[in-house]
Amino acid sequence: MNLWLLAGQRFLHDRVCVASAVVVLGFIAVAGASAVGWIARDWSEEVAVSYAPPRFAGVERAEERAQAEGKAVAQNDFGIADPIGQELAEVRASLSERLKDEARSASLAFGADKWGRDVLKKAIKGTETSLLVGFAAAGLATLLGTLFGAFAGYYGRWVDDLFNWLYSVFTSIPYLLLVLAVAAVLGQKGVLTVVLILGLTGWTGIFRLVRAEYLKHRVREYVLAADSVGASDLRRMFAHILPNVSHVVLVQLSLHVVLFIKSEVILSFLGFGVGVDTVSWGSMLAEAPSELILGMWWQIAAATIAMALAVTAFGLFTDAARDALDPRLQ
């Protein structure tokens, strides 16, 4: 039986693996549905009052706020007879009625942000952005790391020296500084920029591991045997060795998805992340400090819970995948 099938069997035997895989798949499904526009398409619409609290925190608070606003307006009396006071009062009353109605009717399950946008929808849209960044950046970093590592490890000599020099340059600059420098060079904000920043700076760890694996495998007998039947260098590198080191690559890919989801949060928090026209877990967290002072905790809670769940599930999934794919167990 194929070794991949064996690994799959081992994976399915472990309950934690399956549970984490289900959660990960759930996140991917949500992100996918959001990307094609089935859900959370209208995340940017104003659907509630500013900072409408989550429903389970109580509609009463929304009413209180609405009333408080109405009162504040009513007390605005300079003691001068107002010819249109009667009408104004009526308008105000109806306005506050409407506000009250609106607050009640549009009170949201997970509350609203400053502009009255649904936090749940923001979190869903944020999932799409964060996962997209995580997967695309990890894909790019893994691709670069694997390619560089394969060439460096397989050919050795000056090719190895060249890539090691590149590796040293990248790792000798403090990570955040490097990221900010690339961000500054790329200039514009956006998802693609974040992916490029993370991908172009994040390949080093993967490179080192893949290079070590190639160093080890290039002298193995099966590679010599492939050489002896006439397989070219590229064929030996990618048709013969790559499947045998793919467990390392896959585990690194999965690990870096988690890493880059977290990195995106930091970047967005620092203001180098996605633009204002979109939302990610990071940009949600970036809005949180000013809200927390006012006691509006629901946005940071939503982003944190979503991120913690995704990262934990992915971490467990990675561990399980590492165990399942480990060739020593085969």
Binding site: L224, V229, G230, N244, Q330
Partner: protein
């Protein structure tokens, strides 16, 4: 009075029964050899005596040492017994010694642990032990680390550690299998000498029947966890009662066997090497080898580890580029021939069938790849048909095509490796220790297969091996290498009957008979 009695020992690992009801005794001062092929349960038996089995093993039966059941002892009592009462020498000295401590420290540790020898006496005691196991210049060796010693020296250090606390029973698990034949002889002599001097009993575990005759007085033959036969060496060797024992005795290629395979007459020269040499970073691995190989004949290449025989084989296949010298193939300069065309005519089979097949490739993919690379067969279907035919030729069913290497045994994998080499219908096949990693019965089958294939196709072989007996059964001509040099080359009859070079004589004298 027996030192060790094993009674109806059974060991299970999950579903597999590794040992199924084994009963034998080791008499005081006596030596019992536990013989079997891989998977026979001989090593598991030895490890269970010392309580060194992994935790997923389930044990039943009795192991009596000096009348005490070892299975009743607490782990603390057992630890005290290991080393002091029973000690063990393992197959791989390099991996049994701790690489970060000096030899002297490691032997001293055993003494401190079991005999509470005072620190100031330690050095003298260790020195005594090192000279007793015949290490030259023991004072200097004391400070050495395992990697600074040769395989033989490492094994001597291991033996010194094992006898440090004067055990009553020494368990030697394949103590010489990883060593060269000349070193093997020295170590065996040392063990025999120590055993006589220290009056130890010994349980000697081996796959090599030839060694048994040299060291043991009783033999226990095991197969698949069961004892097939036991008795004195004389009984078992001269009048084997069991069919399996008889098969083992017959399968073993013997150095004193008469060569049945003699081919007369001249054959045209196919391959000629003149002063072929190879340097690795200034270290000469092969120093100018010259030889000729005739069409349809077999040239045996014999040497110990580090002699450069594998490097020479790889140069002939052009997997290593030579640093100097000339290689002519049918009179043409082989190094000037196009790589792909040359590879089609010269193929190689490697030693380790577990490493030489790509674990991620199905057997079908492994066999069709060379054909695809060389444009043999019009399409995939035709290549598969060819692959199926080749599998039949090496004795494997067509269903193997869809399986993966890990589903086959070592012998079957080596057959697959041979089939892969045959896909290109080469004129020369290099067999680099091609049967050395296999059990004797499997070895015999593969040697037969190789002979049949040669008869059928008229291929030439360059047969590289450390095993003189195997080479004798295969080769027309034999070349002996030592430290990168070819020291002697002659026809097989001559080299075995009247060796000229002193090294060849030492080699021949070291082979267990």
């Amino acid at each position: 009075m027996s030192v060790l009695s094993v009674r109806d020992l059974r060991v299970d690992f999950r579903e597999t029964q590794a040992v199924r009801g084994v009963t034998f005794d080791v008499a005081e001062h006596g030596t019992v050899a536990l013989v079997g092929e891989s998977g026979s349960g001989k090593s598991v038996t030895a490890l269970s005596i010392l309580g060194l089995l992994p935790s997923n093993a389930r044990l039943s039966g009795q192991i009596l040492f000096d009348g005490k059941d070892l299975r009743q002892l607490s782990s603390r009592e057992l630890r005290a017994l290991r080393g002091a009462g029973i000690s063990m020498v393992f197959q791989e000295p390099m991996s049994s010694l701790n690489p970060v401590f000096s030899i002297g420290f490691q032997i001293g540790e055993a003494l401190r642990e079991h005999l509470a020898v005072a620190r100031r006496d330690l050095r003298a005691r260790v020195l005594d032990l090192l000279s007793e196991v015949g290490l030259s210049d023991p004072r200097a060796k004391l400070e050495r680390y395992p990697f600074q010693l040769s395989g033989g020296e490492q094994q001597r250090a291991m033996i010194a550690m094992a006898i440090a606390c004067e055990p009553k029973l020494l368990i030697a698990d394949e103590p010489t299998s990883a060593l060269d034949v000349t070193v093997q002889k020295q170590i065996l002599e040392l063990i025999a000498e120590l055993q006589a001097r220290r009056r130890m009993a010994m349980l000697f575990i081996t796959h090599d029947l030839a060694l048994v005759r040299q060291v043991a007085d009783r033999v226990v033959v095991m197969r698949q966890g069961e004892i097939r036969e036991q008795g004195t060496v004389r009984q078992v060797f001269d009048q084997p009662r069991d069919e399996y024992t008889r098969m083992l005795l017959d399968a073993r290629p013997r150095i004193d066997a008469i060569r049945t395979r003699q081919r007369r007459g001249e054959a045209p020269v196919m391959l000629e090497a003149r002063g072929l040499s190879k340097n690795f970073d200034g270290v000469a691995a092969v120093k100018g080898a010259s030889f000729r190989l005739a069409k349809g004949r077999t040239l045996g290449l014999v040497g110990e580890s580090g002699s450069g025989k594998t490097t020479l084989g790889l140069m002939v296949t052009r997997l290593h580029e030579p640093s100097g010298g000339e290689l002519r193939f049918h009179g043409e300069d082989a190094r000037a021939m196009p790589r792909l065309a040359f590879k089609r005519r010269v193929q190689i089979v490697f030693q380790n069938p577990y490493a030489s097949l790509n674990p991620r490739f199905s057997i079908g993919a492994t066999l069709t790849e060379p054909m695809r690379l060389h444009g043999i067969g019009a399409d995939e279907a035709e290549r598969r048909t060819l692959a199926t035919k080749l599998l039949a030729k090496v004795g494997l069913p067509a269903s193997a095509l869809f399986k993966y290497p890990h589903e086959f045994s070592g012998g079957q994998r080596q057959r697959i490796a041979i089939a892969r080499a045959l896909t290109l219908e080469p004129e020369l096949l290099i067999c680099d220790e091609a049967v050395s990693a296999l059990d004797v019965s499997i070895q015999a089958q593969l040697l037969n297969l190789l002979r049949e294939l040669q008869e059928e196709t008229g291929m030439s072989y360059l047969f590289i091996s450390h095993d003189l007996a195997v080479v004798k059964s295969m080769a027309d001509e034999v070349m002996v290498m030592k430290d990168g040099e070819v020291v002697e080359m002659a026809s097989a009859e001559k080299i075995y009957s009247e060796p000229k070079h002193p090294y060849t004589r030492t080699l021949l004298a070291s082979v267990p008979r």
